[in-house]
């Protein structure tokens, strides 16, 4: 029996092997772009949202799509004022709890609050249009991000000054999250994502103190309803990823600032699925179709075959060319065999130099392309910064993962993450950009081992 896209996605969320990796393009305000409407018109109309979601699901051959990607829905329903724009989701511009409103005055939103009637109607219409074969993600604002919307940046200091008050606020935002998730499920969503980007700005200690309990309550509730819950974060949340996985989600989704290989390790340790992380700006917005195919391929290779879902780093920017997303879909559906990336079977043979006999130390930086991948760019910059002091005793190369030769070389050296630095054929730094001092010392060690200094 054929497996539907939705079944495929749910299998991956439950860490079961799948015939191919499922793909969830986060179409938010970009849905407006797809049907020729502004972000504001789009996010204020159930008909337009449903039409945008159905169009995206079909055109991008998605296994799942979010119905609305707008982290201001709950905030607006709770009294935050919004500033709207043509090509972005709205921004919160006032924080009721910083303006005299008391927490006790706030009530958990209902199906009638703010734009919730629009979102709920959009979910029902989208479900009718896409049928049961495609997953619909309901995105709720994570408890910490919602607390920040309600209180404003003062929350950061109050975490130190009045922790009990922040805990009470988090208890409330958790109740809001559960209530809104229940409404979205009832309307027809079969996956819920808790989107909490602001947690990337706090330490693991603060995460545990303020976020863990509310997030656990939300995910426990979802589990009871039999609906998979995902934890989305945007930003450099590296140190909190384990804490996120411990909150009991079915999957953790990250953006391009997180190394997918490292994320995969954490996911396996905690028995959760994971997803991500095609770069939004450099690749999806400004890159070519080939750039998008390559980035998708790289993510698929890094994510592995089990328990991984391909997705953009975060909400797809409004103006991303639809051809770029269609190009990613080709890779997902195995129609673009010309794309080269790690793991692809190529017949190219490479021979590594005999590093011991080289009259210099060879530094190789393996990148996707330093102009289009921020971590790659920093890694190249780090090398460029320290090398002049060694003059011709050190030679370096940026090896872009764009040709079969480079891929073969990467395999021969044993590089598993991009970007990486190999010194004289040995992987020295993998995915994390070394401090200059550490990098300098590593090069010096090699030089002195060869008696070049």
């Amino acid at each position: 029996m054929a497996v539907s896209p939705r079944e495929l996605l749910h299998a991956a969320l439950h860490r079961q092997p799948t015939a191919r990796t499922p793909w969830v393009p986060y179409v938010g305000c970009h849905g407006g772009r797809l049907i020729g409407r502004s972000a504001e018109e789009y996010l204020r109309s159930a008909e337009l949202i449903a039409y945008g979601v159905a169009t995206a699901a079909q055109r991008y051959r998605a296994d799942g799509v979010p119905v609305v990607f707008d982290l201001q829905i709950e905030a607006e329903a709770l009294g935050c004022e919004l500033a709207w724009s043509e090509e972005n989701p709205p921004a919160v511009i006032s924080h009721p709890l910083a303006r005299g409103t008391q927490l006790a005055d706030l009530a958990v939103p209902t199906a009638e609050s703010g734009r919730l009637p629009i979102v709920l109607d959009a979910i029902r219409q989208a479900r009718r249009q896409v049928g049961d074969e495609v997953s619909l993600f309901g995105l709720i604002t994570g408890p910490f991000t919602l607390a920040l919307h309600l209180l404003g940046p003062d929350i950061f200091m109050q975490m130190f000054d009045q922790p009990e008050q922040i805990q009470a606020l988090m208890q409330f935002t958790q109740e809001v999250g559960r209530a809104v998730a229940a409404l979205y499920i009832e309307a027809g969503c079969d996956v819920i994502a808790v989107v909490d980007p602001m947690t990337s700005q706090i330490s693991p200690g603060h995460f545990e103190e303020f976020v863990t309990a509310p997030a656990r309550a939300i995910f426990a509730d979802l589990r009871q309803r039999g609906v998979p819950g995902c934890f989305f974060v945007c930003g450099d949340a590296q140190r909190n990823l384990g804490k996120m996985a411990e909150c009991g989600p079915e999957a953790v989704f990250v953006d391009e600032q997180i190394d997918l290989v490292a994320m995969g390790e954490i996911a396996r340790q905690h028995n959760v699925a994971f997803g991500g992380n095609i770069p939004l700006t450099t690749v999806m917005l400004f890159g070519s179709q080939d750039d998008n195919r390559r980035a998708a391929r790289a993510c698929l290779d890094q994510g592995g075959a089990t328990g991984f879902i391909l997705a953009p780093g975060c909400d797809i920017p409004y103006a991303v060319p639809p051809e770029n997303l269609a190009a990613i879909a080709e890779v997902v559906h195995g129609e673009h065999s010309g794309v080269v990336a790690a793991g692809a079977s190529t017949a190219v043979e490479v021979e590594l130099p005999d590093y011991a006999t080289l009259g210099h130390v060879q530094v190789d930086i393996f990148t996707l392309d330093s102009a289009a991948c921020a971590p790659c760019q920093y890694m190249v910059a780090a090398v460029e910064k320290i090398l002049p002091e060694f003059a011709d005793k050190v030679q370096w190369n940026e090896l872009k993962l764009k040709s079969p030769e480079t891929v073969a070389l990467m395999g021969a050296v044993g590089v598993t993450s991009i970007p990486s630095i190999a010194i004289d054929g040995e992987v020295a730094f993998s995915s994390l950009i070394p401090e200059l001092r550490v990098l300098r010392d590593a090069v010096r060690d090699k030089l002195s081992a060869k008696s070049l200094i």
Binding site: A91, Q201, H206, L280, P317
Partner: protein
């Protein structure tokens, strides 16, 4: 002799009460106001910047450290004489036209202030004309531009073009940052420095001055 190490520690830990108490004691004991700033408060804030850069500190830790620093500075300020503290420069900072996000911008302002820069905060949605006016009327030496959105990022380029057109570009250092901004974009628009986060903003400016 004032306890500079304890003063640094109070800033690093973001302990406002302790930072102001030690500062007041030092002032009462006759410690030179400039020494309090240069040997007690600023070195503490530099450690905070370093820790933020190394992911040991996060936004909340930086904010309470900056608050402790500010509280202590408010006590020292009236006692400082002209020339006591070498001004590093005056920074006009703002989120560019069309962009309403202020958290990142505020953080950079606090870090720069902690490192010893004078800050002129122009707020959010700042037009190129406002930046030009700040350069002309407030002795600004550095322009710091922030954009959170891919759609407002082009306002960075427009602001730099406006500085060029007004003949002011050579007079100021331009540093840029924000989620979508990259080193490649810095080159494209001709800014002097790009900082991926608030901690490196201080370092980037100092690097240019060196």
């Amino acid at each position: 002799m004032a306890d500079f190490a304890a003063m640094q520690e109070a800033v690093i830990k973001g302990n406002l009460g302790e930072a102001t108490r030690l500062t007041q004691e030092a002032l009462d004991g006759g410690t030179a106001p400039a020494a309090i700033v240069n040997e007690g408060l600023i070195p503490g804030m530099l450690v905070v910047g370093e820790r933020f850069k190394n992911n040991e500190y996060y936004v909340p830790e930086v904010l309470i450290a900056a608050r402790a620093m500010k509280g202590a500075m408010a006590l020292v300020q009236p006692h400082l004489k002209e020339g006591d503290i070498e001004p590093l420069g005056t920074v006009a900072i703002g989120t560019v036209q069309g962009d309403l996000h202020d958290i990142g911008k505020n953080l950079v302002a606090m870090m720069l202030e902690g490192a010893g820069y004078k800050i002129v905060d122009l707020g959010v949605d700042v037009s190129p004309e406002k930046f030009i006016d700040a350069v002309q009327s407030q002795g600004v030496t550095v322009i710091a531009l922030s954009a959170l959105l891919t759609t407002t990022m082009p306002s960075i380029g427009k602001t730099i073009e406006a500085l060029n057109a007004a003949g002011l570009r050579e007079k100021v250092t331009v540093i840029i940052g924000g989620a979508p901004v990259t080193e490649a974009y810095r080159k494209e628009v001709g800014a002097d420095a790009y900082a991926p986060d608030a901690g490196s903003a201080v370092e980037a400016l100092k690097g240019l001055a060196a």
